[in-house]
Amino acid sequence: MSLVIPYAREDAGQPPSLYPDYRSTVLRSPRQPLVHIPPTLTEVTGPAGCWDRLMGDALADLTAQHRAPPQGQRIVVSGRVLDETARPVPDTVIEIWQANAAGRYIHSKDDWDAPLDPNFTGAGRVVTDGEGRYRFVTVRPGAYPWGNHHNAWRPAHIHLSLLGPGFATRLVTQLYFPDDPLIEIDPIANAVPMPYRQRLVVRFDIDTTVPNWALGYLFDIVLRGRQATPMEDDHGH
Protein backbone atom coordinates (compact mmCIF):
# COMPACT_ATOMS: atom_id res chain seq x y z
CA MET A 1 0.00 0.00 0.00
CA SER A 2 1.30 3.45 -0.76
CA LEU A 3 0.31 7.02 -0.17
CA VAL A 4 -0.87 8.82 -3.25
CA ILE A 5 -1.53 12.54 -2.98
CA PRO A 6 -3.66 13.49 -5.96
CA TYR A 7 -3.15 16.65 -8.00
CA ALA A 8 -5.96 19.10 -8.65
CA ARG A 9 -7.70 18.78 -12.00
CA GLU A 10 -7.48 21.36 -14.78
CA ASP A 11 -8.93 24.76 -13.91
CA ALA A 12 -11.12 26.98 -16.09
CA GLY A 13 -8.11 28.71 -17.62
CA GLN A 14 -6.94 25.75 -19.68
CA PRO A 15 -7.67 25.85 -23.42
CA PRO A 16 -9.80 23.20 -25.14
CA SER A 17 -8.04 20.63 -27.33
CA LEU A 18 -10.21 21.62 -30.28
CA TYR A 19 -10.15 25.32 -31.15
CA PRO A 20 -11.01 25.61 -34.85
CA ASP A 21 -9.65 29.17 -35.21
CA TYR A 22 -6.27 27.50 -34.70
CA ARG A 23 -6.59 25.30 -37.75
CA SER A 24 -4.06 22.65 -36.82
CA THR A 25 -6.25 21.56 -33.90
CA VAL A 26 -9.01 20.36 -36.26
CA LEU A 27 -7.37 17.10 -37.35
CA ARG A 28 -5.17 16.60 -34.30
CA SER A 29 -7.57 16.84 -31.36
CA PRO A 30 -9.33 13.75 -30.00
CA ARG A 31 -13.05 13.38 -30.73
CA GLN A 32 -13.70 10.78 -28.03
CA PRO A 33 -14.13 12.04 -24.46
CA LEU A 34 -11.08 11.77 -22.21
CA VAL A 35 -11.29 8.92 -19.71
CA HIS A 36 -10.89 10.15 -16.16
CA ILE A 37 -8.61 7.95 -14.08
CA PRO A 38 -7.84 8.20 -10.38
CA PRO A 39 -4.22 9.07 -9.68
CA THR A 40 -1.84 6.19 -9.04
CA LEU A 41 1.87 6.27 -8.28
CA THR A 42 2.43 6.60 -12.03
CA GLU A 43 0.72 9.99 -12.25
CA VAL A 44 2.05 11.53 -9.03
CA THR A 45 5.71 10.63 -9.55
CA GLY A 46 8.18 12.21 -11.93
CA PRO A 47 11.91 12.49 -12.53
CA ALA A 48 12.36 15.24 -9.94
CA GLY A 49 15.81 16.06 -8.70
CA CYS A 50 17.89 14.46 -11.44
CA TRP A 51 17.88 16.99 -14.29
CA ASP A 52 21.64 17.11 -14.65
CA ARG A 53 21.83 13.32 -14.75
CA LEU A 54 19.05 13.25 -17.32
CA MET A 55 19.72 16.22 -19.58
CA GLY A 56 23.01 17.80 -18.52
CA ASP A 57 23.89 21.21 -17.13
CA ALA A 58 21.76 24.35 -17.06
CA LEU A 59 21.94 26.88 -19.93
CA ALA A 60 20.68 30.08 -18.34
CA ASP A 61 22.20 32.67 -20.68
CA LEU A 62 20.92 32.41 -24.25
CA THR A 63 23.05 35.39 -25.24
CA ALA A 64 26.37 33.67 -24.40
CA GLN A 65 26.29 30.52 -26.51
CA HIS A 66 28.29 31.75 -29.51
CA ARG A 67 31.28 33.94 -30.46
CA ALA A 68 29.53 37.27 -30.06
CA PRO A 69 26.35 38.59 -28.47
CA PRO A 70 23.19 38.20 -30.55
CA GLN A 71 21.31 41.06 -32.17
CA GLY A 72 18.32 42.46 -30.33
CA GLN A 73 17.07 43.80 -27.03
CA ARG A 74 18.71 41.94 -24.15
CA ILE A 75 16.20 40.94 -21.47
CA VAL A 76 16.07 39.07 -18.17
CA VAL A 77 13.08 36.85 -17.46
CA SER A 78 12.65 35.86 -13.84
CA GLY A 79 9.97 34.50 -11.57
CA ARG A 80 8.87 31.62 -9.44
CA VAL A 81 7.36 28.23 -10.12
CA LEU A 82 4.49 27.71 -7.66
CA ASP A 83 1.66 25.30 -7.15
CA GLU A 84 -1.95 26.39 -6.88
CA THR A 85 -1.66 26.95 -3.15
CA ALA A 86 1.25 29.34 -3.83
CA ARG A 87 3.82 26.91 -2.46
CA PRO A 88 7.12 27.05 -4.33
CA VAL A 89 8.13 24.16 -6.58
CA PRO A 90 11.89 23.80 -5.99
CA ASP A 91 14.42 21.95 -8.13
CA THR A 92 12.25 21.69 -11.22
CA VAL A 93 13.49 22.16 -14.77
CA ILE A 94 12.26 24.84 -17.18
CA GLU A 95 13.23 24.35 -20.80
CA ILE A 96 13.18 27.43 -23.03
CA TRP A 97 13.09 27.97 -26.79
CA GLN A 98 12.25 30.95 -28.98
CA ALA A 99 12.75 32.83 -32.23
CA ASN A 100 15.48 35.45 -32.60
CA ALA A 101 15.00 39.22 -32.44
CA ALA A 102 13.78 39.27 -36.05
CA GLY A 103 11.19 36.59 -35.36
CA ARG A 104 13.10 33.80 -37.14
CA TYR A 105 13.67 30.34 -35.68
CA ILE A 106 16.96 28.52 -36.24
CA HIS A 107 14.80 25.59 -37.39
CA SER A 108 15.26 24.48 -41.02
CA LYS A 109 11.50 24.33 -41.60
CA ASP A 110 11.12 28.02 -40.74
CA ASP A 111 11.30 29.59 -44.18
CA TRP A 112 10.18 33.09 -43.27
CA ASP A 113 12.29 35.76 -44.97
CA ALA A 114 13.83 37.31 -41.86
CA PRO A 115 17.53 37.11 -41.00
CA LEU A 116 19.04 34.30 -39.01
CA ASP A 117 21.50 35.35 -36.32
CA PRO A 118 24.63 33.16 -36.19
CA ASN A 119 25.06 34.19 -32.56
CA PHE A 120 21.63 33.11 -31.40
CA THR A 121 20.24 29.60 -31.10
CA GLY A 122 17.34 30.40 -28.79
CA ALA A 123 17.44 27.30 -26.57
CA GLY A 124 18.08 27.20 -22.83
CA ARG A 125 17.31 25.39 -19.62
CA VAL A 126 17.17 26.47 -15.97
CA VAL A 127 16.35 24.73 -12.69
CA THR A 128 14.39 26.43 -9.89
CA ASP A 129 16.12 27.05 -6.57
CA GLY A 130 14.87 26.06 -3.13
CA GLU A 131 12.27 28.85 -3.22
CA GLY A 132 11.05 28.00 -6.70
CA ARG A 133 12.90 30.94 -8.29
CA TYR A 134 14.39 30.94 -11.77
CA ARG A 135 16.10 33.48 -14.01
CA PHE A 136 17.37 33.45 -17.56
CA VAL A 137 18.90 35.96 -19.97
CA THR A 138 17.89 36.18 -23.62
CA VAL A 139 16.85 38.66 -26.30
CA ARG A 140 13.29 39.75 -26.86
CA PRO A 141 11.93 37.62 -29.72
CA GLY A 142 10.28 39.21 -32.75
CA ALA A 143 6.78 38.61 -34.09
CA TYR A 144 6.46 36.53 -37.24
CA PRO A 145 3.86 35.64 -39.87
CA TRP A 146 2.37 32.16 -40.14
CA GLY A 147 -0.02 30.35 -42.44
CA ASN A 148 -3.05 29.91 -40.21
CA HIS A 149 -5.15 32.52 -42.01
CA HIS A 150 -4.73 35.62 -44.17
CA ASN A 151 -2.22 38.04 -42.64
CA ALA A 152 -1.74 35.93 -39.51
CA TRP A 153 1.10 37.02 -37.19
CA ARG A 154 2.17 35.39 -33.98
CA PRO A 155 2.76 37.81 -31.11
CA ALA A 156 6.29 37.80 -29.69
CA HIS A 157 6.54 34.82 -27.38
CA ILE A 158 8.93 32.51 -25.56
CA HIS A 159 8.15 28.78 -25.28
CA LEU A 160 8.53 27.21 -21.84
CA SER A 161 8.38 23.55 -20.89
CA LEU A 162 8.05 22.34 -17.28
CA LEU A 163 7.88 18.89 -15.78
CA GLY A 164 7.11 19.73 -12.17
CA PRO A 165 7.08 17.07 -9.49
CA GLY A 166 4.92 14.50 -11.26
CA PHE A 167 3.59 13.18 -14.57
CA ALA A 168 0.32 15.00 -13.80
CA THR A 169 2.01 18.41 -13.53
CA ARG A 170 3.61 18.40 -17.00
CA LEU A 171 3.12 21.78 -18.69
CA VAL A 172 4.19 23.38 -21.95
CA THR A 173 3.25 27.02 -22.37
CA GLN A 174 4.23 30.32 -24.01
CA LEU A 175 4.79 33.71 -22.41
CA TYR A 176 3.78 36.96 -24.11
CA PHE A 177 4.78 40.59 -23.65
CA PRO A 178 2.56 43.40 -22.36
CA ASP A 179 0.98 45.86 -24.79
CA ASP A 180 1.44 43.56 -27.79
CA PRO A 181 -1.55 44.20 -30.09
CA LEU A 182 -1.06 40.82 -31.76
CA ILE A 183 -2.14 38.85 -28.67
CA GLU A 184 -5.77 39.84 -29.17
CA ILE A 185 -5.84 38.46 -32.70
CA ASP A 186 -3.75 35.34 -32.14
CA PRO A 187 -5.79 32.11 -32.18
CA ILE A 188 -3.26 30.21 -30.07
CA ALA A 189 -3.36 32.78 -27.25
CA ASN A 190 -7.10 33.21 -27.75
CA ALA A 191 -7.75 29.52 -27.16
CA VAL A 192 -7.28 30.51 -23.53
CA PRO A 193 -10.43 32.32 -22.37
CA MET A 194 -10.24 35.75 -20.77
CA PRO A 195 -9.30 36.73 -18.18
CA TYR A 196 -7.03 33.65 -17.83
CA ARG A 197 -5.18 34.57 -21.04
CA GLN A 198 -3.59 37.38 -19.07
CA ARG A 199 -1.81 34.75 -16.97
CA LEU A 200 0.44 34.32 -20.00
CA VAL A 201 1.48 37.99 -20.12
CA VAL A 202 4.69 38.96 -18.33
CA ARG A 203 5.03 42.16 -16.32
CA PHE A 204 7.84 44.65 -16.89
CA ASP A 205 9.72 45.06 -13.60
CA ILE A 206 12.19 47.81 -12.85
CA ASP A 207 13.72 45.84 -9.97
CA THR A 208 14.48 42.90 -12.28
CA THR A 209 15.89 45.32 -14.85
CA VAL A 210 19.69 45.47 -14.66
CA PRO A 211 21.02 49.07 -14.92
CA ASN A 212 22.82 49.79 -18.19
CA TRP A 213 22.43 46.18 -19.28
CA ALA A 214 19.01 44.51 -19.67
CA LEU A 215 15.25 45.06 -19.27
CA GLY A 216 13.61 42.76 -16.72
CA TYR A 217 10.32 40.89 -16.85
CA LEU A 218 8.52 38.83 -14.20
CA PHE A 219 6.70 35.62 -15.03
CA ASP A 220 5.42 33.26 -12.35
CA ILE A 221 4.40 29.80 -13.49
CA VAL A 222 1.66 27.97 -11.57
CA LEU A 223 1.47 24.19 -11.82
CA ARG A 224 -1.40 21.99 -10.74
CA GLY A 225 -1.34 21.73 -6.95
CA ARG A 226 -1.59 18.83 -4.59
CA GLN A 227 -4.87 18.44 -2.82
CA ALA A 228 -4.52 19.15 0.88
CA THR A 229 -5.17 15.71 2.33
CA PRO A 230 -3.11 12.70 1.37
CA MET A 231 -5.42 9.83 0.62
CA GLU A 232 -4.48 6.29 1.29
CA ASP A 233 -4.44 4.45 -1.97
CA ASP A 234 -6.67 1.64 -0.80
CA HIS A 235 -9.84 2.04 -2.79
CA GLY A 236 -10.90 3.19 -6.20
CA HIS A 237 -13.09 6.25 -6.48
Partner: protein, 225 residues
Protein backbone atom coordinates in the same frame (compact mmCIF):
# COMPACT_ATOMS: atom_id res chain seq x y z
CA UNK B 1 -17.00 46.68 -22.65
CA UNK B 2 -18.16 45.61 -19.20
CA UNK B 3 -14.83 44.37 -18.00
CA UNK B 4 -11.50 45.20 -19.51
CA UNK B 5 -8.98 42.68 -18.28
CA UNK B 6 -6.24 43.76 -20.62
CA UNK B 7 -4.47 45.72 -17.94
CA UNK B 8 -4.00 42.57 -15.86
CA UNK B 9 -0.93 40.40 -16.18
CA UNK B 10 0.84 37.39 -14.77
CA UNK B 11 1.56 39.13 -11.47
CA UNK B 12 -2.05 40.12 -10.75
CA UNK B 13 -3.24 38.43 -7.57
CA UNK B 14 -6.85 38.16 -8.78
CA UNK B 15 -5.68 36.02 -11.70
CA UNK B 16 -3.58 33.61 -9.64
CA UNK B 17 -4.11 30.02 -10.80
CA UNK B 18 -2.85 27.37 -13.19
CA UNK B 19 -0.72 28.70 -16.02
CA UNK B 20 -2.61 27.82 -19.22
CA UNK B 21 -1.13 25.28 -21.59
CA UNK B 22 0.00 26.29 -25.10
CA UNK B 23 1.18 24.24 -28.07
CA UNK B 24 4.85 23.31 -28.54
CA UNK B 25 4.44 24.52 -32.13
CA UNK B 26 6.38 23.10 -35.08
CA UNK B 27 9.86 24.39 -34.18
CA UNK B 28 10.73 22.73 -30.85
CA UNK B 29 13.38 20.37 -32.21
CA UNK B 30 16.46 22.43 -31.29
CA UNK B 31 15.06 23.16 -27.81
CA UNK B 32 13.49 20.00 -26.36
CA UNK B 33 14.53 16.58 -27.67
CA UNK B 34 18.12 16.07 -26.64
CA UNK B 35 20.45 13.49 -28.18
CA UNK B 36 19.94 10.22 -26.35
CA UNK B 37 16.68 11.35 -24.78
CA UNK B 38 14.90 8.36 -26.27
CA UNK B 39 17.51 5.80 -25.25
CA UNK B 40 16.90 4.99 -21.59
CA UNK B 41 19.29 2.05 -21.75
CA UNK B 42 22.45 3.00 -23.62
CA UNK B 43 24.36 5.88 -25.11
CA UNK B 44 22.94 6.33 -28.61
CA UNK B 45 21.69 9.64 -30.00
CA UNK B 46 18.10 8.46 -30.26
CA UNK B 47 15.35 11.00 -29.80
CA UNK B 48 16.78 14.14 -31.42
CA UNK B 49 16.24 15.50 -34.95
CA UNK B 50 19.67 17.04 -35.71
CA UNK B 51 18.64 17.14 -39.39
CA UNK B 52 16.36 20.09 -38.59
CA UNK B 53 18.93 22.70 -37.51
CA UNK B 54 22.60 23.55 -38.17
CA UNK B 55 25.10 21.56 -36.06
CA UNK B 56 26.60 24.70 -34.51
CA UNK B 57 23.20 25.34 -32.96
CA UNK B 58 23.02 22.01 -31.20
CA UNK B 59 23.32 23.34 -27.63
CA UNK B 60 21.37 20.59 -25.90
CA UNK B 61 23.86 18.25 -24.31
CA UNK B 62 24.16 14.63 -25.18
CA UNK B 63 22.65 12.50 -22.42
CA UNK B 64 25.33 11.92 -19.78
CA UNK B 65 26.72 8.39 -19.38
CA UNK B 66 25.10 6.08 -16.88
CA UNK B 67 25.37 2.45 -15.79
CA UNK B 68 23.46 -0.12 -17.78
CA UNK B 69 20.07 -0.68 -16.15
CA UNK B 70 18.77 -4.03 -14.96
CA UNK B 71 16.00 -5.81 -16.80
CA UNK B 72 14.79 -6.80 -20.24
CA UNK B 73 15.73 -4.29 -22.95
CA UNK B 74 12.83 -3.45 -25.23
CA UNK B 75 12.34 -1.18 -28.20
CA UNK B 76 9.09 0.68 -28.71
CA UNK B 77 8.22 2.20 -32.06
CA UNK B 78 5.02 3.67 -33.35
CA UNK B 79 3.52 6.19 -35.66
CA UNK B 80 1.59 9.27 -34.59
CA UNK B 81 -1.40 9.61 -36.92
CA UNK B 82 -3.90 12.45 -37.43
CA UNK B 83 -7.64 12.46 -38.14
CA UNK B 84 -7.08 11.81 -41.85
CA UNK B 85 -4.76 8.87 -41.21
CA UNK B 86 -1.71 10.94 -42.12
CA UNK B 87 1.54 10.66 -40.15
CA UNK B 88 2.36 13.58 -37.85
CA UNK B 89 6.00 14.53 -38.56
CA UNK B 90 6.23 17.23 -35.89
CA UNK B 91 4.99 15.43 -32.78
CA UNK B 92 6.94 14.82 -29.61
CA UNK B 93 6.37 11.78 -27.42
CA UNK B 94 7.50 11.42 -23.80
CA UNK B 95 7.49 8.37 -21.57
CA UNK B 96 7.64 7.89 -17.80
CA UNK B 97 7.93 4.48 -16.25
CA UNK B 98 9.07 2.36 -13.32
CA UNK B 99 12.28 0.32 -13.42
CA UNK B 100 12.38 -3.44 -13.88
CA UNK B 101 11.64 -3.97 -10.20
CA UNK B 102 8.59 -1.70 -10.30
CA UNK B 103 10.02 1.38 -8.53
CA UNK B 104 9.81 4.94 -9.79
CA UNK B 105 13.00 7.03 -9.56
CA UNK B 106 11.07 9.79 -7.82
CA UNK B 107 11.13 11.18 -4.29
CA UNK B 108 7.37 10.63 -4.26
CA UNK B 109 7.78 6.86 -4.54
CA UNK B 110 8.80 6.13 -0.95
CA UNK B 111 8.68 2.33 -1.09
CA UNK B 112 12.18 1.58 0.15
CA UNK B 113 11.50 -2.18 -0.01
CA UNK B 114 11.58 -2.01 -3.83
CA UNK B 115 15.06 -1.25 -5.19
CA UNK B 116 16.04 1.79 -7.22
CA UNK B 117 18.34 1.21 -10.20
CA UNK B 118 21.29 3.63 -10.39
CA UNK B 119 21.35 3.16 -14.17
CA UNK B 120 17.71 4.00 -14.77
CA UNK B 121 15.64 7.17 -14.42
CA UNK B 122 12.67 6.16 -16.54
CA UNK B 123 11.96 9.44 -18.35
CA UNK B 124 12.42 9.68 -22.11
CA UNK B 125 11.63 12.05 -24.97
CA UNK B 126 11.52 11.47 -28.73
CA UNK B 127 10.58 13.61 -31.71
CA UNK B 128 8.77 11.87 -34.56
CA UNK B 129 10.52 11.62 -37.91
CA UNK B 130 9.25 12.79 -41.29
CA UNK B 131 7.26 9.52 -41.42
CA UNK B 132 5.56 10.24 -38.08
CA UNK B 133 7.50 7.44 -36.37
CA UNK B 134 8.98 7.71 -32.90
CA UNK B 135 11.28 5.18 -31.24
CA UNK B 136 12.41 4.44 -27.68
CA UNK B 137 14.85 1.95 -26.25
CA UNK B 138 14.03 1.17 -22.65
CA UNK B 139 13.48 -1.53 -20.02
CA UNK B 140 10.29 -3.48 -19.61
CA UNK B 141 8.83 -1.99 -16.43
CA UNK B 142 7.86 -3.98 -13.35
CA UNK B 143 4.48 -3.77 -11.71
CA UNK B 144 3.56 -0.92 -9.38
CA UNK B 145 0.65 -0.72 -6.95
CA UNK B 146 -2.59 0.96 -7.92
CA UNK B 147 -5.91 1.68 -6.27
CA UNK B 148 -7.57 -1.04 -4.27
CA UNK B 149 -4.27 -2.59 -3.19
CA UNK B 150 -4.17 -4.28 -6.59
CA UNK B 151 -0.95 -4.37 -8.57
CA UNK B 152 -1.22 -2.53 -11.85
CA UNK B 153 -0.19 -4.36 -14.99
CA UNK B 154 3.20 -3.28 -16.40
CA UNK B 155 2.65 0.00 -18.21
CA UNK B 156 4.37 3.17 -19.41
CA UNK B 157 2.84 6.63 -19.08
CA UNK B 158 2.92 8.47 -22.41
CA UNK B 159 2.56 12.17 -23.25
CA UNK B 160 2.00 13.49 -26.78
CA UNK B 161 2.76 17.06 -27.86
CA UNK B 162 2.76 18.77 -31.24
CA UNK B 163 1.70 21.61 -33.46
CA UNK B 164 -2.08 21.74 -33.16
CA UNK B 165 -2.05 20.22 -29.69
CA UNK B 166 -2.95 23.03 -27.31
CA UNK B 167 -2.60 20.62 -24.41
CA UNK B 168 -0.51 17.57 -23.71
CA UNK B 169 -2.40 14.35 -24.46
CA UNK B 170 -1.80 11.69 -21.79
CA UNK B 171 -2.18 7.98 -22.40
CA UNK B 172 -0.67 4.67 -21.28
CA UNK B 173 1.11 1.87 -23.07
CA UNK B 174 0.37 -1.66 -21.84
CA UNK B 175 1.91 -4.81 -23.26
CA UNK B 176 -0.44 -7.12 -25.17
CA UNK B 177 -0.63 -10.38 -23.24
CA UNK B 178 1.11 -8.77 -20.27
CA UNK B 179 0.58 -10.18 -16.80
CA UNK B 180 -2.22 -8.47 -14.95
CA UNK B 181 -3.83 -6.73 -17.92
CA UNK B 182 -7.13 -8.48 -17.12
CA UNK B 183 -7.22 -7.09 -13.56
CA UNK B 184 -5.64 -3.71 -14.18
CA UNK B 185 -7.75 -1.05 -12.42
CA UNK B 186 -7.02 1.66 -15.00
CA UNK B 187 -7.65 -0.51 -18.05
CA UNK B 188 -10.91 -1.52 -16.38
CA UNK B 189 -12.07 2.11 -16.60
CA UNK B 190 -11.63 2.11 -20.39
CA UNK B 191 -14.58 0.92 -22.50
CA UNK B 192 -13.77 -2.66 -23.51
CA UNK B 193 -13.98 -1.94 -27.24
CA UNK B 194 -11.30 0.77 -26.95
CA UNK B 195 -8.80 -1.06 -24.70
CA UNK B 196 -6.83 -2.40 -27.64
CA UNK B 197 -5.70 1.15 -28.43
CA UNK B 198 -3.59 1.00 -25.24
CA UNK B 199 -1.91 -2.33 -26.03
CA UNK B 200 1.52 -2.38 -27.65
CA UNK B 201 1.79 -5.35 -30.00
CA UNK B 202 4.86 -7.62 -30.02
CA UNK B 203 6.99 -7.55 -33.18
CA UNK B 204 10.41 -9.20 -33.38
CA UNK B 205 12.07 -10.27 -30.14
CA UNK B 206 11.96 -7.38 -27.66
CA UNK B 207 10.31 -5.02 -30.14
CA UNK B 208 6.88 -3.52 -29.56
CA UNK B 209 4.62 -1.45 -31.79
CA UNK B 210 2.46 1.31 -30.30
CA UNK B 211 0.76 3.64 -32.76
CA UNK B 212 -0.89 6.77 -31.42
CA UNK B 213 -4.03 7.83 -33.28
CA UNK B 214 -4.93 11.39 -32.37
CA UNK B 215 -8.40 11.30 -33.91
CA UNK B 216 -10.83 9.12 -35.84
CA UNK B 217 -10.89 5.36 -36.47
CA UNK B 218 -9.03 3.56 -33.72
CA UNK B 219 -8.53 6.81 -31.81
CA UNK B 220 -6.19 6.20 -28.88
CA UNK B 221 -7.73 6.51 -25.45
CA UNK B 222 -6.45 9.66 -23.76
CA UNK B 223 -6.82 10.31 -20.05
CA UNK B 224 -8.10 13.14 -17.92
CA UNK B 225 -5.68 12.98 -14.99
Amino acid sequence: MATDNRGLDNQSQELFGQTPSQTVGPFFHYGLPWKGGADLVGQSGMGARPDLFPPEHCVLNVAPPHARPEGEVIEITGRVIDGEGQPVPDAMVEIWQANAAGRYASPDDVRSDVPLDPGFIGFGRAATGADGVYRFRTIRPGRVPGAGNVLQAPHIAVSVFGRGLLKRLATRLYFAGGEGNEEDPVLALVPAERRATLLAEPQALGAWRFDIVLQGDGETVFFDL
